[in-house]
Symmetry: C2
Subunit: 115 residues, 2 copies
């Protein structure tokens, strides 16, 4: 079934395994029987998240700005820009002073891959 | 490798198999060795595209408005909203008078699935 999601539908939860002010809200995931997870992410100001990617993860920045560092290189993305974090990469994700809102798509499901 | 994409990096091509003013620009696809395709879509005003989904497709609306009809139901999405079109669905995608820009992620690669 075709589904539409809005930020106002999102039930945010603290992103697991870290203490920062970073929340995620899966809109589609392993509970729905498809191959991909879809959700919204919300970063408070000046937050940092370090993670080795267990899945392929695409982040579309909707508000604010996010920088992603990996292997000594850093990219910074604002509204309408996309960051692709392939499985296996060790990344550091940082928000700036304005925080950020993102949409994400992962293959396969990130919650299962982390377990 | 982590990669960042902007709309200004996109090389748009006419979306295959249809005559409307609808263009796509894959930024990541089967050429890059990963499991997913990532790209930008651009719809002129009042365009229509009818398709049976060969892949799972997630569309994030960046500008304008897109409506998607399937099985007699229609959803309409604007900036920051997400439409999920699962594999197997027959969908009609329409832009309104302002046209639209979207980001998309498909699993697996849509160009291969259509061949």
């Amino acid at each position: 079934m075709v589904k539409k999601f809005s930020l106002s539908d999102a039930s945010f939860e603290r992103s697991p395994g870290q203490e920062g002010d970073i929340d995620t809200a899966n809109m589609v995931d392993q509970r729905h029987g498809g191959p991909i997870t879809i959700g919204y992410g919300r970063y408070g100001p000046n937050q940092e998240l370090i993670e080795r990617m267990a899945v392929d993860d695409v982040m579309v920045v909707l508000e604010g700005k996010v920088s992603v560092s990996a292997n000594g290189a850093t990219v910074t993305a604002g509204p309408g820009e996309i960051v692709y974090m392939p499985k296996g990469e060790k990344v550091t994700i940082r928000s700036d002073e304005q925080g950020a809102v993102t949409a994400y798509v992962t293959y396969p499901h990130w919650q299962e891959a982390r377990e």
